[in-house]
Structures are given as C-alpha cells and as structure tokens.
Amino acid sequence: MNILLMILSAIISLVTGMFFLGLARKIMAMIHWRYGPPIYQPLIDVIRYFHQRAVSHGFIFDLGIIISLIGSLLVVFFLPLGNISSFSNSGGLLVILYILILSPLGLALSSGESANPNASIGISRKLILTLSYEFVLIIILLSLMSQYQTISLQEIVMLQARKVWSFASWKLILPGIAYLLILPAMLGFRPFEIAGASQEISAGPSVEFGGKYLALNTINHGLLHFITIALFVNLFLGGGDLFGIFDSISGTFWGSFVSLIIFLIKMILIFVISVFINAVFPRLRLEQATKYILYYPLSIAIVGLIIVVAIN
C-alpha cells in the first residue's frame, strides 16, 4: 500500500510540476498579449533535451544533478497530498527541511564541477538568497511547530482540519503572510529570479547543462515549484480540507480523491498569484533582495513567533 502511495504521489508531483511550468509560460504569455505556447510545451522541451547528445564535465557533474532530483522527489514522499501520505510519519518537518537542502546542494556540486564562473556565481547567489529566506522559513515553521506542539506535518494538517486553517487563525496569520512574501523567492520567480538570471549570468547554475542534464534540471524545477506550494497549502491552507464539507466521506477512496482535487486546486490558485507577481516586477539585485527579505518578512515572522510563544 505504501509503495503504491509512493508511486502515486511521485506521479502526481511530476505531472503537476510540469503542468505548473507550462501554466506559468501560458499565463505570462497572456499578460504579454500573446497567445503563448501549448501548456505541454515544457514536456516537449524535456523530450527534446533528452534526445540531445549532452556534454559532461565529469562524474560529479552527472551525480550532482541526480542527487538533486532524488532530493526533490524524496521531499514529495514526506508531504501529505490531500489524504495521500507515504511516510509523513518519519521525522516530520525537520526531515523535510533537511532533505530540501539536498536539491540545491546537488545542483551546486554538479554546476561547480562544470568549472564555469557563471555557474559558480549563480550558485553563490542561490545559496545566499536561500540563506536569507531560510531565516524566515525556519521561524515560520518554528511558530507552527510551537503552536501545534508537534514536528509532524501530517498532524499539523489534521489539526488544522479539525480547528481552523492556520492562515485564518489569528495567531498564525503573521507567519502566513511572511510565507506568502517569501514565496516568490522560494519559487525563484521575479523579483527574486536572481540565481538563474539569464540576462546577467547566462542562466547561472545550469549554464553548462544541456541534453539530459537540462531535462533533469527542468523536471527538478517543476518539482520544486510543486514542493514549495504544497508545503504552503499543507501548512496554512489545511491541505486537502475544505471547511470540513467532505468530512462525511473521509477515509474512503472518494474522500481521498476529493481531498486530492481540493489540494491541487488550492495549489493552482497560489501558483497563479505567484505568476502574476512574476509578471509585474523586474529582477532585483541580490543585496536588495536579501535586504528586503531580512527587513519585512523576517520582522513579520518574528513578531508572529513571539505572539505564538507568548500565548502558549
């Protein structure tokens, strides 16, 4: 059963990830007054990459990108998707936080081996940006974990379904806002599209990636979109719950199905909002982005955490 769930969640995340990539391009095209590519264009791209004869710079160049994808897929198993959760009960949010490191680290190793300074600059930017939003993310997760007194994501989702969504509960609204503010940074969207800025450093970390490396990188990109938003939906929007309307069929097959659909719809909503933000902002410089994150979202998150701790 567990293995079936794993396969299912892997497929859902991969498909949704690719869909998100296509959706982003389509929405951006619409905002540009264009018709835009078909929604499955990223898939075509990936197939094309896969059939190209890539260049490799060494063993770690291959291994790093594989590690990166493993890291991303692994996180998916720890995330409850609606009622589907493969092993959300082994280590909880702390493990998720740690496995989330794997993906950038693998990418960093791989592009570091490619010996291109553009890639190195991209990685350096990515790590610094990640550090700065991680300040906020950690505080947000800590306030949730302190509030619900558990480190298990599954339990947080369940408690929300029983009480009120975190985003709507007054104690956790500040962390929720902080999360929304750093969401574009986590997704790598403008104004925080700094690591892969193609006009500045030629796509940054993926500068030497071509062929199947780029294919894996693209898939990974989609997965990271999926993970970031799924985490938000799980933490703040109650996962697959919709005001308890479908409580009566929970536990059954249809209950799981409905919760999955609700979950995906919530994700798409959040994603579309992020794409809109992406469309109307230019790219910031790294220092400005870091400063912004460390001023506004961080202070909001700290106030949120203080409120949570003080009330408990």
Binding site: H32, R34, P38, I44, D45, I47, R48, V55, A203, V207
Partner: protein, 180 residues
C-alpha cells in the same frame, strides 16, 4: 499543426520534439537581429511554435545567423556552433551570409558562410521580414521530418575540410579540434 497528433509522437518522439522545441541561440551576428525581438514578442509570438531564445548554446538547438558575418564574429560563431549539442540546426538569415550581399567587396566580412560551418537553410532578403523566419521554420520542420537537416552530421563528417577553411582565415585557432 501536427504537434497535436499523438501517433506521430509515439512513432518518433525525437523528431517531433526537435521540431517543436527549437531554442534559438541568442547571437546578434548582424543587422538581422533587429527582426528577432518583434518575432519573439507580442506581434508574432514565436513561442507559439516553441521557439524561444536560449540563454546559452548548450541549451539551444537552432542557430539563426542573422546577417553579415565579420571575421571576428565568425570565430565566435564557430565556437558557439561547436558548443551546441547535437542535433543542431543552422539557418542563415539575410543575403549577406549567402554571398556577401551588399558587402561583397568588404575586406572584413565572410562571403559564403557555408564554407566554414554547415547551413541547413537560408532566408534570402535584406532584410527578411519576421514572417520569413516562420516560413523558414516551417521549411526546417519539413527538413527535420525528412531527415534532411543534417548539417551537424555533415560537419562531423567533413570536419577536416571545415577546420582547414577556418584555419586558412585565422592562421590558427585557439581551441583544439572538436572531432579527432
């Protein structure tokens, strides 16, 4: 468009994906580049056909050589072309790369580009309108479909001749030969 036919995808995914995911190298080799921004933006929207500029040659498979090629540019073109991954397609844009165009008597521009790198197709005119790019792309699709866009294979096969021609211009090239 036959992009939507699943049967074709199953039969030859490589060909189909090569056709409908043409990422162009962004290299402003000559004045032809002025028509590239209109064709990738709102008015002509090349992204409909999966054509977008790629940030670097490793991720691209279409090389639009947009206009005259000076000697200095040719070096960069060869370098960029050799860094692209196979299969890769080149299209000469405008009359200048075909035969020198209006710079037929210039001391610093290449007259026939296909002496130095293989070209899969030409777009004549000075300068060709954005529509011409799309016509060229549909022709390129046909060529890919019929396995006739084989410039990169030709390059590999006749590499010695190409390299000799390139070295005739520069005396010697900085980088080692790509093939053997």
């Amino acid at each position: 468009m036959d992009r939507n036919q699943i049967g074709k995808w199953l039969r030859s995914p490589q060909k189909m994906s090569n056709k409908y995911s043409l990422h162009a190298v962004y290299f402003c080799t000559g004045c032809g580049i002025i028509e590239i921004p209109p064709s990738i933006t709102t008015r002509w929207d090349a992204e409909r056909f999966g054509i977008i500029p790629a940030p670097n040659p490793r991720q691209a498979n279409l090389f639009l050589i947009t206009g005259y090629v000076s000697l200095k540019t040719l070096k960069a073109i060869i370098r960029t072309y050799e860094q692209m991954l196979e299969p890769k397609y080149t299209v000469g844009f405008g009359s200048c790369p075909i035969n020198g165009g209006m710079y037929w008597d210039s001391y610093n521009t290449i007259k026939k580009l296909d002496k130095y790198i293989p070209i899969d197709g030409w777009i004549a005119g000075c300068m060709p309108r954005p529509e011409a790019i799309f016509v060229a792309v549909t022709h390129l699709w046909t060529l890919i479909e019929k396995d006739m866009a084989t410039g990169y294979i030709k390059y590999r096969k006749n590499y010695k001749q190409y390299r000799a021609n390139q070295e005739k211009i520069y005396g010697s090239l900085d980088w080692p030969p790509l093939y053997k």
